[in-house]
Subunit: 340 residues, 2 copies
């Protein structure tokens, strides 16, 4: 049996599966942000022509997958698996999209780390020769997430300074063994669930940062790489507070992230005047920014190699009400530029 494992947490993709297409569909607020030119569709409103926000979340997820396939001229009948999830109870947006797309479906839940989790498993399916093209996708919706995790928007309650704004958006990537690559996946690190005892559902950056630091540390120890080997170390949605904690933790652990090499999707997706407090969040955040900002820079050669690490806060309304703290998880994928 071949061994494609380096260290305890890290996988090497020998055949370097390619992301050959991607798409992102986002809401109006996201569509006014820095990556506005690069989204495939910006919704006119949060309902996207549907009867409920949950239905809109499903439609958006499906639209991202369909546009991703269309850009690669890939008929859906050829796609051998859809891997993805969202933040709804029982990942209904992804499940309903899978029903409409009729592609064999592996449902995932890693909260806001889902986009990275789907890329890790999708890359593995392709790298091992277990599947032809697969779609990896994730999405979230501000209006459904708020009423699920915190309060219905109709309450109009004030958001705390540490709160993050769940991105209304979905992103999808088509992963295949051949085709013109936006990026190649060369390595992945699977994260552990880490919990430092944060109980505030309005401070998810602090809840996720220790998991991000754990995964990052294991990635460097396993792979022998250093932070400077990457053009960017990109986290999903740590926001202002989580990012600053991550920097401190990595400094303490002897792998400081160099100035100018760090990016957090949640800190770049909205314009500064949008009143989003500590930054964007949600699995749609890293999924949309991956498609609209990261992959284009890898394809153009502006960046040669980045570490894409989406971070998830594993909370539920039930566990929050029962006084549980919020565990975090983070998975990382190394993306390298274009065709060799």
């Amino acid at each position: 049996m071949p061994c494609h494992r380096i260290g305890h947490h890290t996988i090497e993709f020998v055949h370097q599966p390619r992301i050959i297409s991607s798409a992102a569909v986002v809401g109006p607020k996201e569509g006014r942000g820095p990556w506005k030119e690069a989204y495939d569709l910006v919704l006119e409103d949060a309902l996207f022509g549907q009867q409920s926000y949950e239905q809109a979340e499903h439609a958006m997820f499906q639209e991202a997958c369909e546009r991703c396939l269309k850009k690669a001229e890939m008929p859906r009948e050829r796609v051998q698996a859809l891997l993805g999830g969202d933040l709804l109870n029982q990942i209904m947006a992804a499940s309903l999209a899978a029903r409409e797309l009729s592609i064999p479906f592996l449902g995932l839940y890693g909260a806001c780390s889902t986009m990275a989790e789907s890329l890790v498993l999708g890359a593995l399916l392709v790298d091992g020769g277990y599947a032809g093209p697969v779609v990896c996708a994730a999405g979230s919706h501000y209006c459904t997430a708020e009423r699920q995790y915190r309060f219905p928007l109709e309450y109009g309650n004030q958001r705390t300074p540490a709160a993050q704004w769940t991105v209304t958006g979905a992103g999808a990537c088509l992963v295949a063994e051949e085709g013109k690559a936006l990026a190649r996946m060369t390595c992945a690190t699977i994260g552990r669930v880490v919990d430092m005892g944060i109980k505030d559902a309005n401070n998810m950056g602090a809840a996720m940062a220790p998991a991000a630091s754990d995964t990052l540390l294991h990635h460097f120890l396993d792979s022998g790489k250093k932070p400077g080997d990457y053009d960017r170390i990109i986290t999903g949605d740590l926001g202002k507070i989580g990012s600053s904690i991550l920097h401190e933790l990595m400094e303490e652990r002897g792998f400081p992230i160099p100035e100018g090499k760090y990016m957090d999707c949640g800190l770049t997706i909205f314009n500064a005047d949008e009143d989003i407090h500590a930054g964007g969040s949600g699995c749609g955040c890293s999924a949309s920014v991956l498609s609209a900002c990261i992959l284009p820079r890898l394809q153009s050669g502006e960046w040669k190699r980045v570490l894409f690490m989406a971070t998830g806060a594993l909370l539920s309304p039930t566990t929050s009400q029962q006084g549980e703290s919020i565990p975090g998880v983070a998975h990382a994928v190394v993306l390298e530029g274009g065709n060799e």
Copy 2:
């Protein structure tokens, strides 16, 4: 790149990853059932010493994983991934267990198909040489599922004849490339999400049967196998109604399941006098029966080859309230007996 794909939906495991240990922890009602001698632990009550049913569900999931590792004398530090999920919002039982176990965690959600989904992906990680031993697990709890999907138990509402009883139980398997095998995994079929328009959250068998039939049909078409090639074709929790629909659908499609070759975990887990109506359900159902009934028969040689297909009803309280129908999904794994 090697190709381990046979047909569109089906994967071949060239190295035949082994299930080298398993454990099941169940509630008192399950513990009185036909497999009572074979469970690793039967809880004295549904709370398992915890403050809430959700905490009990988490503790049960963790206990199943720990007992599975202990039986194989496998230190948790050597385990490279935990793949699993449950029915709680945001799969909190699995996530909290992953936190305590401190094993790299890939969260899955396939409703009651989760045990098969975790085996498919776990087998893939091991078969491809991407991970050493991995734990695949799933669990559910009657008291948390009822209040989440239907009504809190305190309402005392009458159950309909088509209703199934969510199993209080968790099962875990340790998958590795070597070691004394309870069973070897040789093949898997990833299912599509299929929806025939059932909207009754009390008739999940009918909602899942079309997906089960779709996966089964693709399995036979892809692999060239026939129903008679298996000692048992085992579904997760179709119950009385779903099982009967599956038989009809397979007959119509030209692959009738022979008399005496079929088993549904949900129809065997409880004693007949337990008032469970159409049968057991929940991801803990197939997970517990796998460990307590199926693997021992494969190890003893009573069965040589079975198809283990867990079935999931993809509903959420939100989508039910919004009038959505209930899509189903089913994943199948071929398990073959013991060491060659």
